[in-house]
């Protein structure tokens, strides 16, 4: 006369709770992934507050100043560089000299204290990145920084996830352009037929043997 250990609906409860747990886990994981990719978490498209409301739209699109005038090391070394106060003053000592927006720049020029810009693109410190190699191999600024010439305040165009870097390192022919179009913001790599782009990959001697996706390329 053994007592019944499980009630009659135990089977149903078990099945329902297993299903619920699975659903819960799947739900939590996909919610986390969604959060991880959402602009709310990555900050893509959020204009960053700056000490001076510097506008690329103004200076690049309307005044047609070349990126190198301000980011002058981008072709030579790993970092593109943020312009020094002196660079702004080469124009603003003569024009818009009374603009209140430019007061921090003038103060900095007088005191020698740098203007503290807030970073927009910031890789983790364990990742190695190099501008000069990308620029020399025909990867345009716009491929990574988007249409920055249309932004009044600078905002990220990319969350800079590893998968994104790898995507291009696996298939550079999707993004490559002739070297003299690198600074051209309006150029679209897809305007060139794929055969020509593949030829460019060869001409610029970009390794296609998978070397670019080895961990030590970026984690060194």
């Amino acid at each position: 006369m053994s007592a019944q250990i499980f009630s009659r609906n135990a089977n149903a409860i078990l099945l329902v709770s297993i299903a619920a747990i699975v659903l819960l886990i799947v739900g939590i994981i996909s919610a986390l992934i969604g959060l991880y990719l959402s602009p709310w978490y990555t900050g893509v498209g959020d204009a960053i507050e700056q000490p001076v409301p510097f506008s690329h739209k103004h200076h690049v699109d309307q005044l047609m100043i070349d990126c190198r005038y301000c980011h002058s090391t981008v072709e030579r070394v790993a970092h593109a560089g943020i312009p020094s106060t002196d660079t702004c003053m080469s124009c603003h000592s003569q024009i818009w000299t009374n603009s209140p927006l430019l007061q921090p720049v003038r103060d900095s020029y007088q005191t020698g204290e740098p203007v503290l810009w807030n970073r927009v693109y910031d890789l983790p410190d364990f990742v190695y990145f190099n501008h000069s190699v990308h620029v020399a191999k025909g990867i345009g600024c716009a491929s990574c920084h988007g249409r920055i010439d249309q932004q009044h305040l600078t905002a990220k165009a990319q969350p800079l996830y590893m998968g994104w870097c790898l995507g291009c390192h696996r298939a550079p022919e999707e993004h490559i352009r002739p070297r003299d179009e690198v600074f051209n913001m309006a150029y679209e790599p897809q305007m060139m037929p794929i055969a020509d782009r593949l030829a460019l990959v060869q001409e610029y001697q970009i390794p296609v043997d998978g070397r670019l996706t080895h961990c030590y390329t970026c984690h060194r």
Binding site: A3, A10, I21, D66, Y69, S84, T87, Q94, E113
Partner: protein, 203 residues
């Protein structure tokens, strides 16, 4: 474990017990999110510093010093002068590549003010109250080429120095390109071949 009383209708099953505490492993996920390797205590370019008084981790060179290999007092390449006089010759070979390099530098660094053709009506001069002189007059056409190197390196009156943005070799390339611009604006049409004149759209 307590003995399970069979009469209780809503007794917890093992699975529902597990389910009740299913959020526990998530704590490990949260604890696992270290970000200390994202921002390591080291300097990268342009990073601020609380060690130096002016807040810069990139140190300007100590006054009256130069980096090794970036300067030689008696070399025209770095000073634009030979024996104290402005250099008359390029300190390197004049090639098409050099002129092409000079063109990209000129268009990036000079054209905003001096204009693409060098006549002083670049977009900044056009927009603002900035008066920029033309590069096409007899004095500038005949001056030693070292003069252009000197102006780019040290600036002149209202024009700032571009020395920290344009390396010496590139300054010479710009100087050579300015010479090419001057030639392009000051050619006797009779010396051109018929084909060249056709390109210009003239007779």
């Amino acid at each position: 474990m307590q003995p399970v009383a069979p009469s209780l209708r809503r007794k917890p099953t093992v699975m529902s017990l597990l389910a009740r505490f299913a959020w526990l492993p998530l704590c490990f996920v949260l604890v696992g999110c270290h970000i200390d390797m994202y921002d390591q205590p080291k300097y990268r370019p342009n990073r601020p510093s609380d060690f130096f008084e002016d807040g810069r981790s990139m140190r300007p060179p100590v006054e009256n010093t130069v980096a090794m290999g970036s300067f030689e007092a008696d070399s025209a390449l770095f000073t634009g002068r030979l024996n104290g006089e402005l250099a008359v010759d390029l300190p390197m070979e004049l090639t098409a590549d050099l002129l092409e390099r000079g063109q990209t530098r000129y268009e990036a660094f000079c054209a905003p003010c001096h204009g693409l053709a060098g006549d002083g009506n670049g977009v900044i001069a056009y927009r603002g109250p900035l008066q920029v002189p033309t590069l096409h007059n007899d004095r500038l056409r005949t001056v030693a080429i070292g003069y252009y190197f000197d102006v780019i390196t040290n600036g002149i009156n209202r024009m700032y120095s571009y020395a920290h943005r344009i390396p010496p070799e590139d300054r010479w390339a710009v100087a050579a390109y300015v010479r090419a611009l001057q030639l392009s604006q000051n050619v006797d049409a009779d010396t051109l071949t018929a084909e060249e004149r056709a390109l210009l759209g003239g007779p």
